[in-house]
Amino acid sequence: MERVPQKNPDIIWKDVKGETILLNPVSGKYFGLNKVGCAFWEKIDGARSLPDIAELLLKDFNVEKERLLKDLESLILTLQENNLINFG
C-alpha cells in the first residue's frame, strides 16, 4: 500500500521568501526547509501518497526523477525523526 504522510497537528509554520520554518510549540524545536522541502510540506494534505507528491514535485522542479526521489527519501527520514510528519 502506498504510504500517505500526515503533518503533526501541533506543528506551526511560516513560509518567508520561498523557505519555511517549522516550529513544534510543545517542544520548542524548530526546523528549516529549503525550496524543495517547502514544496513537499505544502503538498502534504493527509490524502496524497508519497508517489502522488513526488509526481507533483517533478512538475514544479526541473530535476531528474531519481535525484528527486533520493532527496525526498532523506527529507522524509529527517521529518519523521523530528516528529514533524507520520504515516498514520
Binding site: 501541533d10 506551526i12 511560516k14 518567508v16 521568501k17 520561498g18 523557505e19 519555511t20 520554518i21 516550529l23 510549540p25 510543545v26 520548542g28 524548530y30 528549516g32
Partner: protein, 330 residues
C-alpha cells in the same frame, strides 16, 4: 516597612512597579532607564515585589499541581538555586527554592514576586524577580524580547543576532565607540505600531574588564553599578561614546558570523536563516501558547524588515564603516 511605587512609561504603556522589597526597589529608577508615565494613574501592567517568608509565599501564591510543571533546573547565580516553572491557563509560576517565587497573570497583566531573605545577591534578584516577570508581562501587550544587540545608526535601528559567541555585544560596542547610541548588548524588545520598533528598558550592561579596556575611552566613562565575579555592571551615559537610547525604528536585523579575517562583509540572506541565531534563546516561553504567539510575531517581523548576513571581521573600524554604509543605503 517602607513601601516604594513607580509608574514607568514602558513603550507608552503605564507600568506600575511597587512593594516593600528595598534591595530591588530602592534604586529601581537608576536600574531602569524608562521614563515615568505622565497623565495616568491606571496602569496597564503591574509588578509587585515584596519580602516574605516561605509560609507567606505558599499562602499568597501557591503553586498549581505537579501536573502543571513545565520544567525544572538549577539557576546558577551567586549560589545554585533549584528552580521550577509551572503554567496553568493564563498564569505562570517560577519557583526558586528557598529564595522566592514569581507568579505572572497574563490575563490581568500583573505579576507578583515574593522574595525570601538575601541569599541571592540584589543584582541577581533584579534579574530574576523584576526583569524576568516584566519580560513575560510585556508579551501580553505584543512586546516581545529578542536575543539581540542593537544600535541606532543615523536614526536607523540595526540589530544583531547570532549564535553564542558570534559577537553580538562586540558589534554593539564597536558602534557605540563611534558615537552611535546603543539600546542593548543582549536583550532587545520589539513591538509593532505602524512599523517595527526596537526598544530597551535598561541602560545597564554587563561586561568583563577586557571589554571595557577595548571599547571604553576611559575606565570611568560610565558609573559602575555593581561588580560580581569579574562582571562589571555599567550604567551607560556619562560620555559621548557611551550613549544609550530607549527606542528606534527597527530597520535591519543582521545575523553575525565571525570569520577571523580583518574585513567585514555584508550580504543579503533569506530571513529564515536568522532563526538559528534568534530562536534558541528567543523562543523560550513557558507554554506552547506563548511560544506559538512569539513565533508568529518573529516570523512576520522577518518578512517585513531587511535581513542581512554580516561576516564579522576583526577590524572594528571597518565593521562600523560597513554598518554605516548599510544604514545609509536603506
Amino acid at each position: 516597612m517602607k513601601t516604594y511605587s513607580y509608574l514607568f512609561n514602558a513603550f507608552d504603556k503605564p507600568l506600575r512597579i511597587f512593594g516593600d522589597w528595598a534591595p530591588c526597589l530602592k534604586d529601581l529608577r537608576s536600574w531602569y532607564a524608562m521614563p515615568l508615565f505622565k497623565g495616568s494613574n491606571a496602569p496597564e501592567l503591574t509588578l509587585e515585589i515584596t519580602g516574605a517568608d516561605i509560609e507567606e509565599i505558599e499562602r499568597i501564591i501557591p503553586l498549581p499541581g505537579i501536573e502543571h510543571k513545565i520544567k525544572s533546573g538549577i539557576m546558577m547565580v551567586n549560589q545554585n538555586f533549584d528552580f521550577a516553572t509551572y503554567a496553568q491557563g493564563s498564569r505562570h509560576w517560577i519557583d526558586y527554592a528557598g529564595a522566592g517565587r514569581c507568579m505572572i497573570d497574563f490575563g490581568k497583566g500583573s505579576a507578583i514576586s515574593m522574595i525570601c531573605g538575601n541569599a541571592m545577591f540584589p543584582t541577581y534578584q533584579k534579574y530574576l524577580f523584576a526583569e524576568h516577570p516584566l519580560d513575560k508581562l510585556f508579551t501580553s501587550k505584543g512586546i516581545f524580547s529578542m536575543h539581540a544587540s542593537c544600535a541606532s545608526v543615523n536614526g536607523k535601528g540595526i540589530a544583531f543576532t547570532g549564535n553564542s559567541g558570534a559577537g553580538k555585544s562586540t558589534a554593539a560596542f564597536a558602534l557605540m565607540r563611534k558615537g552611535m547610541p546603543i539600546l542593548t548588548d543582549e536583550k532587545l524588545f520589539i513591538f509593532k505600531d505602524e512599523e517595527y520598533s526596537a526598544g530597551s528598558i535598561s541602560d545597564i550592561i554587563k561586561v568583563r574588564q577586557d571589554v571595557i579596556s577595548k571599547f571604553f575611552a576611559s575606565p570611568d566613562a560610565c558609573h559602575e553599578y555593581d561588580v560580581i565575579a569579574g562582571e562589571h555592571y555599567l550604567k551607560l551615559g556619562g560620555s559621548k561614546t557611551t550613549t544609550w537610547q530607549s527606542r528606534t525604528p527597527l530597520t535591519v536585523l543582521c545575523m553575525l558570523e565571525q570569520t577571523g579575517k580583518p574585513e567585514t562583509e555584508v550580504k543579503s540572506i533569506n530571513p529564515t536563516k536568522l532563526a538559528g541565531g534568534l530562536f534558541p534563546v528567543t523562543i523560550t516561553s513557558a507554554s506552547p501558547q506563548f511560544r506559538a504567539a512569539k513565533f508568529g510575531f518573529v516570523m512576520e517581523m522577518l518578512e517585513n524588515i531587511e535581513c542581512r548576513l554580516v561576516k564579522f571581521g576583526t577590524d572594528m573600524d571597518d565593521f562600523a564603516a560597513k554598518i554605516e554604509e548599510l544604514a545609509e543605503a536603506l
